[in-house]
């Protein structure tokens, strides 16, 4: 594999360039192999995509609340455009926001820093992974503007609708969408191999398995889970692409194919995928809660084991998305059992987080507020999953807004709340300045309160029988009367979007600020806080690479002067 070649000339060059870079702008910001720069590239791309996805939500929510109006900033929303907007909103939020933000950006930034290494083991593969990702992001955005418009067959892309341009009327958009998603998978496979091997081989001397910060564990478990679940879907995507472009019949029943095959391949990946994004977010939340509660984790090993158990179980639940898709009804019983079982490890994860608060001394900093609100909101998303996992009630709830609210109550805490938690916590390390706490708290409340007002009404609408992916509910007499709930959700969304301006203002101010952040502003134990903010090239001077003497959560150890005990401090 491509290891960095060591030509002697380059060797001397690399040594004494800490701090000052004589490479050009392009080399520094675009062609860099430094894991911290690649992390920033992923981070900015995903924030940009989050804004795109959020604005798409604004457009189609306006259409739902006020059907037929010209949405300010967009114009009339036609049924085809509506479908393209929701499809790409869902795809972007999952594949170009949640995954790059939680796994790629923070994984790249934190894994080397937290395990005391100077970079990933394969820096150039890392760069390649981002470049493929960037191309995929450009493709998905471009697919909205090609002839026929963007793909509108939902992010699940069920054939025959997705397989045949005659049915979806967006032949080009559908193929570009599919290629973009496939490229994104490739980028994350490359990145994942890098993450896994880096953790396995490049830990600082002394760092044993149970000295690894939970964040790193979670990101790596997620990468393995992704790698093992996505393969069949990649094969399936090739088959779907051939159906679209070469006119094969893999999913066409008239020619011996089977449309339900795709559903199995998709959900065999799709369900593990939700834990692929959940685990890293849980990791951030645990690290943040331990730091600001000044507490050792309640049961580090339980945490790691339950994460692994969740990952393993997640391979056996996929068909709960297909209870009424025409699979053998006896199968549904099996999948109901496995689905409900998965509530046990996840409940345990949450109980351990809650128990960690016991006996702490909780500081309500902005990152801590985000982390705590993750637990409070994710619980709602988690327990509503049980209504869907029970086959009997899913008959009614399937493909209603109840499902929609369920997964926004999981995805939003994970991708957005978890994203902000990580962002506000590690910002000083990444950029070397502090974010403003007051602005941070205004933004926090301005985000989580409107959030409830968006999606609680959508739960109600779902229970009222409102189904998904409908551009105008006035066509359904029984649903028309629930319009006030739709308006509430849309207005709350607008409030939430406006509060994001506070975030960007805060971000902008801090990036411009001259005040340097200290090395360890939160008095945390993990290794990334033992190097200046931001860390220099190579993270630590080569002769001062950290050694590890203890686990990452030794807070408030009795008989010590300070209430923290960095991992690298010799006892």
């Amino acid at each position: 594999m491509a290891q960095a070649t060591t030509a002697p000339v380059q060797d001397t060059h690399g040594h004494d360039t800490h701090g000052h870079h004589d490479e050009g702008w392009f080399k520094k910001y675009f062609w860099s192999t430094d894991h911290k720069m690649i992390a920033k590239q992923y981070l900015w791309t995903s924030i940009f995509m989050a804004v795109v996805g959020g604005l798409m939500a604004y457009v189609f929510r306006m259409q739902l609340a006020f059907p037929g109006i010209e949405v300010p900033g967009f114009g009339l929303v036609s049924p085809g455009e509506y479908n393209a907007l929701i499809t790409n909103h869902g795809s972007i939020m999952i594949f170009w926001v949640a995954m790059p933000m939680l796994i790629a950006a923070w994984g790249n930034f934190l894994i080397p820093l937290m395990i005391g290494a100077d970079d990933m083991v394969f820096p150039r593969i890392n760069r390649l992974s981002f470049q493929i990702f960037l191309i995929s992001a450009i493709l998905i955005l471009a697919s909205l503007f090609v002839q026929g418009g963007g793909f509108g067959g939902a992010w699940t892309s069920y054939p025959p609708l997705s397989a045949n341009p005659e049915y979806n009327l967006t032949g080009l958009g559908a193929s570009i969408w599919l290629i973009a998603v496939a490229l994104e998978f490739v980028a994350f496979l490359l990145g994942g191999i890098n993450f896994i091997v880096t953790l396995m081989n490049s830990r600082a001397p002394g760092m044993k398995a149970y000295d690894i910060p939970v964040t790193v564990w979670m990101i790596v478990i997620a990468s393995i889970l992704f790698m093992l679940s996505v393969g069949p879907l990649i094969a399936g995507a090739i088959m779907l692409l051939f159906d679209q472009t070469l006119n094969t019949g893999f999913y066409d029943p008239a020619r011996g194919g089977d449309p339900i095959l795709w559903q199995h391949l998709f959900w065999f990946f799709g369900h593990p995928e939700v834990y692929v994004v959940l685990l890293p977010a849980i990791g951030f939340v645990i690290d943040i809660i331990a730091t600001f509660a000044r507490k050792k984790l309640f049961g580090y090993k339980i945490m790691v084991y339950t994460a692994v158990a969740t990952a393993v179980l997640s391979f056996f639940v996929w068909a709960h998305h297909q209870f009424i898709a025409g699979i053998d009804p006896r199968m549904a019983n099996v999948f109901t059992v496995t689905t409900l079982l998965i509530s046990v490890p996840i409940a345990e994860l949450l109980f351990v987080i809650i128990a960690t608060l016991y006996g702490g001394s909780i500081k309500f900093t902005t990152p801590m507020l985000w982390a705590l609100s993750f637990v409070a909101t994710f619980l709602i998303g988690g327990v509503t999953g049980i209504f869907l996992g029970a086959s009997g009630s899913d008959i009614y709830l399937h493909d209603t807004y109840f499902v929609l609210a369920h997964f926004h109550y999981t995805f939003f805490p994970i991708a957005i709340i978890g994203g902000f938690a990580a962002f506000t916590y590690w910002f000083p390390k990444m950029f070397g300045t502090m974010l403003d706490e007051t602005l941070g708290k205004i933004h926090f409340w301005g985000t989580v309160i409107p959030f409830q007002f968006i999606f609680i009404p959508l739960f109600a609408l779902g229970l009222g029988g409102q189904h998904r992916r409908i551009y105008n509910f006035q066509n359904f007499p029984e649903l028309a009367s629930m319009q006030p709930l739709r308006v509430t959700a849309t207005l709350a969304l607008i409030v939430m979007i406006l509060f994001q301006l506070v975030f960007f203002w805060n971000l902008f101010r801090s990036l411009r600020s001259k005040e340097k952040a200290p090395m360890n502003p939160w008095k945390a134990n993990t290794l990334e806080w033992t190097t200046p903010s931001p860390p220099p090239h190579g993270n630590w001077p080569p002769d001062q690479m950290p050694k590890v003497y203890r686990g990452p959560y030794e807070y408030s150890v009795p008989d010590r002067d300070t209430d923290y005990w960095p991992q690298n401090e010799p006892s």
């Binding site: 091997v197 069949p232 190579g538």
Partner: protein, 190 residues
Amino acid sequence: MQKPIATTRSASGIPTGRLAIWWLLASEIVIFGGLLACYLLFRLGHPEWADAAAVTNTAIGATNTFVLLTSSFTAVLAHQAAERGDGKKAARFLVFTIIGACLFLGIKSYEWWYEISHGYTITSNGFWSFYYTAAGLHAAHVIAGAIAMGFVAKDAAQGKELQRVELVGIYWHFVDVVWIFLFPLLYIAK
């Protein structure tokens, strides 16, 4: 660029490159595994595909199996040479392996040309769709492997990065093993 310290560590005791190759293969196994599982499920549900499978040329398939196995053997010899530190010899064996890959692709092209010109195309029926998709995906891996071996052989000839000879070798064995699965499934089962 300076070689990162991270690359020089080996906390697991397994060389970094080999570890990476194994994970790469893990991700490839699920891709091919998914494809072949789909094929098997369809094949069980469509006994009539056996008629289409009867058209495939088992002799050509067997020849290609032999070619690939031989090329795997030269890959092993390349590895042995690299172990002894003989980069030149390793490079030479890798070139043999690449020739094997090209031979394989040449035979495959002839076979496909023959079949396509006789009207058996990827759209003919489910069997042919799988036939071209699975063998095509495999052929793409053959091409990728041959290119990778070219780069490794170039370095090895100058005595550099000899550990990579083993890594492409592992990859090449995997490509071989995939074919060992494809051959009976696509050619022999009639």
